[in-house]
Every structure is written in structure tokens, then in C-alpha cells.
């Protein structure tokens, strides 16, 4: 049986009048079910392109992307929460169900349950502007999870938050994702975030992008993302990834 996600020999370039910009050059990696993979790399290296390709928003020019498993739904979280102010929090959460015409009782129930579980029930009928940055991200995550995707693509979902909120929300959101037993790919430019949140890290090179480092991350059991930052392991991982990024090779 193949991997949960098989990203195989994929190449992709952007085309404009000014010329061709190669984004990915023969990139391959696999993700197993239940993994939480952090993807880091220099800015503009094509991290987001990888997510767009997996989500089917872009089509690879060469290579293939395949999923093992029936109906591997894909959920996507963008940099900003993009909750629409003209909809209540609840209506925002069921946006995907509305679009896919899947407003079944079961799905709506799941949304209600997540609202309760993740502390948004008191704000069910509120406007998004009444929520704090952290609650907004939770609402955005519920909107993504409403469609019950097996694979979550997180495109720097915490980068719009201030540093303090970001630390709290980052671990909070990842906790929820683990809790819901989802496989996830997190794109970020924050090394600490990548190391403390992921169970594996992929480091990309400058354009045209290749994978220059791929390793599992392990911390002692039971540590929060914040606690992980104070461990020796964290410093070692950080040092290694930092050097890889700076040298452009492992």
C-alpha cells in the first residue's frame, strides 16, 4: 500500500509576460497518515505552491500527486482567517458545507459539537469582529474541519497574529488537529513554530525548490509547545535546521 500522500517528481513554474519562474523542480516526498509535517524554507521558495498543488488549485506541469485512501477530503487554512463579517460565526463555519451542498443533519451536528468543544458556542450568532484573534482562528479551523477532511493544509495560518497570541493559538490549533486525528502539512517561515508543532520537518531550498532536509521530530511526552522551546532537543533541532537553511544543503 502506498503512502497517505505521495508527492512524486513534481515540477511547476509560474508564467508571466516577463518570463518563466520555476517554482518546484522535481520535488518528491511522502506523508503518512497521522503525521504533522512542518514545511520551512526561504521566503518565496514555493512552500505555498506545494499546498496549492496538493489542494488541486494548481495543476503540476510534471509529476503526480496521489492520495491513498477513499475520499481523502482536503482542508485548507490560509494566512488570514477570512471570516466574513456579513455572516455570523456559525454561518461562517458552515460556509464549506453550503458550497458543497452537504448541509446534512450529521454535518451540522458536527459543527455544533465543535463549537461547543472549542468554546465558540457563546459566540455562535456573533459577528467575527467580536471575536479575539485566537477565537477567530478556531472558527476558521472549524470551518475547515466542517467538511471532515482527512488532510489539512495550513498555509502560515498564524502569521497574521501578534507574537504572544501566536504562541498560544499555534499550540491550541495543533492540539485540536491532533485531537481530531487529522494528517497535516504546516507551511511556516517560523523555525520555532515548525519544530515545536510538527512531528516531522521538511526544509526546502531556494527556487527552484528542492527538499534539502527531511527528519522526524521527537520531544519527551507531554510537553506543551511552549515547554518544548526550553528543551535541549529544541535547541539542537533549531541549530541543525538553521544551518541547513543557511548553507542551502544538509
Amino acid at each position: 500500500m502506498g503512502a497517505f500522500l505521495d508527492f512524486s517528481n513534481v515540477s511547476f513554474a509560474y508564467h508571466t509576460k516577463a518570463g518563466e519562474t520555476p517554482a518546484l523542480n522535481n520535488v518528491s516526498f511522502q506523508v503518512e497518515e497521522g503525521e504533522f509535517v512542518s514545511v520551512v524554507g526561504p521566503s518565496g521558495c514555493g512552500k505555498s505552491t506545494i499546498l496549492s498543488l496538493i489542494a488541486g488549485l494548481l495543476v503540476p506541469e510534471e509529476g503526480s500527486i496521489s492520495f491513498n485512501g477513499e475520499n481523502t477530503g482536503i482542508g485548507y487554512m490560509l494566512q488570514k482567517d477570512h471570516l466574513f463579517e456579513w455572516r455570523s460565526v456559525y454561518k461562517n463555519c458552515i460556509l464549506g458545507l453550503e458550497i458543497r451542498k452537504q448541509k446534512t443533519e450529521e454535518n451540522l451536528m458536527r459543527v455544533e459539537n465543535m463549537l461547543i468543544q472549542y468554546g465558540l458556542m457563546p459566540f455562535r450568532n456573533a459577528r467575527p469582529s467580536e471575536l479575539s484573534g485566537g477565537l477567530r482562528q478556531r472558527a476558521a479551523l472549524i470551518r475547515t474541519l466542517a467538511l471532515n477532511p482527512q488532510l489539512l493544509l495550513l498555509d502560515e495560518p498564524f502569521s497574521a497574529l501578534d507574537y504572544q497570541t501566536r504562541l498560544a493559538v499555534g499550540s491550541d490549533i495543533c492540539e485540536i488537529i491532533r485531537n481530531e486525528h487529522k494528517t497535516a502539512l504546516l507551511v511556516t517561515h517560523d523555525l520555532s513554530e515548525a519544530i515545536t508543532l510538527g512531528s516531522r520537518i521538511l526544509v526546502l531550498s531556494k527556487r527552484p525548490t528542492r527538499i534539502i532536509y527531511d527528519a522526524g521530530i521527537q520531544f519527551p511526552e507531554g510537553l506543551s509547545a511552549l515547554q518544548k522551546r526550553n528543551t535541549k532537543e529544541f535547541q539542537d533541532y533549531f541549530q541543525t535546521v538553521w544551518e541547513v537553511l543557511n548553507n542551502g544543503k544538509a
Partner: protein, 270 residues
């Protein structure tokens, strides 16, 4: 017991100053009109102005009462009001539909853009004689004149607004599995509602202009007709009174749109 001045907090002082300013502005707005009307009336009575040509406030009010009694005035006003509302609704409807079409089909937008820009800057009153010949001296001509004056601006403004929607919001809909139709109905239209309302604010007045131009050429009733008729038979009271009524209509239209804006934007503010 009123608080002594010294015990007012800075906040109270600020609020009082704001209220006083507002009262003063309102006072001078009204006083200015009364003053000008007074001078006008006085100038007529003292013989400084020829009231046959320049009319006067009292004569205008007399004319208003006379025409109101004969019920003519209500009919003329109603006709203009009706034509303006029909033109306005059609202008906004047609404009929005076209803007949506241009948004949906980018190539079509690129092909049409220069034509819309030219048509938008063309003085539409130049079209009125043509419309009269093509459509005849009837309400159709007047309504088309009312539509034509603003419709191209509506299309251009709304289309520009549609294009300014945050691409990330569009991407969100795509990541949730939505197509162009979903993007339009879930993001583009709701997020450009404030633009639509500001377009409506500008164009309710413009459709009145278009309707009056149309009435100049093609009507036998309506306030535009009264203005032309009055000037031809030298009933200047009637002309000025009709113009005053047009001013009042404009104010009413504007207030109506503002009410609409408040009720809608309260629910949809960004």
C-alpha cells in the same frame, strides 16, 4: 440642579462644544435660506428686480397652492417621481448585471472597456434628440434617457469594485470547493455592497437629471415638462417652483438611500 461650569469634566465640555457647533451649523443653514428668500422677496417688492422675470418667494408659494388645488402639481410630481424610480432601478439592475458579466468573462471586459469609458464620458443630453426620434415622445424615451445617463458609470464602478475583492478571499472559496458562482454569491457581491450603495447614492440624483432632460424633449407631463412649458409661456413662477420641487425630490431620494444604507450596512459592515 445644573452643574457649575467649573465642575464639568473635560468629556462633558467636549460633548457640549460638539452640540453647540451642530446647533450653530443648523441655525446658519436655515438662516441663510431665509435671508436669501427675504432679500429676493424684498427686491421684488421694492422694484429692484422684475418679478415677471425673476419671480419671488410669495409668488412661487401662491403658484404652488394654486396648482396643488387643481391637482395638476401632484400628477406632474408623481410622474417625475415614478419615471425616476423606474429609471433608477433599471439603471442599477442593468448596471449590476453587466458588471457581473464583465467580472465573469475577463476577455469580454477587456473588449468592452474602452467603449464603456467613451459612452460614460459622452454628454448624455446629446442623445436625447436621437432617443426622441427612435422611441417617440413617450415615457419610454424619458426612462431610457434616465437610464443612459448613469448606467455606464454604474457598470465601470461596480466592475472595478468586483475586481478589488481580496484574492485570498476568493482562494478561500476555492479551497472549500466552490466555483465562480460561489465566489460571486458568497464573496464578491456581499463584499461590494458598500460600493453598490455609494453608486446608488450618486445615481439616484443622476437618474433624476436624465429624466428631466428626457421630459424637456419628450413629455407632456412631469416637472421637466412644467419647466419647459413655464419658460415658453413666461410663467417663471411655475419654472422656479418646479426647480424647487426637484430640489426637494433630490433630498428625499438621498435620505431614502441613506436609510437603506444604514439598515443594510448595520448588518454587513466590513
Amino acid at each position: 440642579m445644573a452643574k457649575h461650569k467649573d465642575t464639568w469634566s473635560n468629556q462633558e465640555r467636549y460633548i457640549r462644544k460638539q452640540k453647540k457647533d451642530r446647533r450653530m451649523i443648523n441655525f446658519w443653514r436655515v438662516a441663510g435660506v431665509i435671508f436669501l428668500l427675504g432679500i429676493w422677496e424684498l427686491a421684488g417688492r421694492m422694484g429692484w428686480l422684475d418679478t415677471f422675470i425673476f419671480s419671488g418667494p410669495v409668488k412661487i408659494v401662491q403658484c404652488f397652492c394654486r396648482m396643488l388645488r387643481s391637482q395638476d402639481l401632484l400628477r406632474h410630481t408623481w410622474i417625475t417621481l415614478k419615471e425616476t424610480l423606474i429609471s433608477f432601478l433599471l439603471m442599477i439592475g442593468i448596471g449590476t448585471a453587466f458588471a457581473m458579466l464583465l467580472w465573469r468573462f475577463e476577455r469580454l471586459a477587456k473588449i468592452c472597456e474602452p467603449y464603456f469609458v467613451v459612452l460614460n464620458s459622452l454628454p448624455k443630453s446629446a442623445l436625447a434628440p436621437l432617443l426622441l426620434v427612435w422611441l417617440g415622445a413617450n415615457m419610454r424615451t424619458i426612462i431610457v434617457s434616465g437610464i443612459s445617463i448613469g448606467v455606464f458609470g454604474v457598470i465601470l464602478n461596480l466592475h472595478t469594485g468586483f475586481l478589488k475583492v481580496d484574492p485570498e478571499q476568493i482562494k478561500l472559496i476555492e479551497t472549500l470547493g466552490g466555483g465562480r458562482k460561489d465566489v460571486l454569491s458568497k464573496v464578491v457581491l456581499p463584499s461590494t455592497l458598500p460600493i453598490l450603495i455609494s453608486v446608488m447614492k450618486v445615481n439616484i440624483g443622476l437618474s433624476l437629471v436624465g429624466v428631466v432632460i428626457g421630459e424637456f424633449f419628450a413629455a407632456s407631463e412631469g416637472l421637466g415638462y412644467l419647466i419647459i412649458y413655464g419658460s415658453q409661456v413666461f410663467k417663471l413662477d411655475m419654472v422656479v417652483m418646479s426647480i424647487a420641487l426637484l430640489c426637494i425630490l433630490t433630498i428625499l431620494f438621498y435620505q431614502a438611500i441613506q436609510l437603506l444604507e444604514k439598515s443594510i450596512l448595520n448588518r454587513f459592515t466590513l
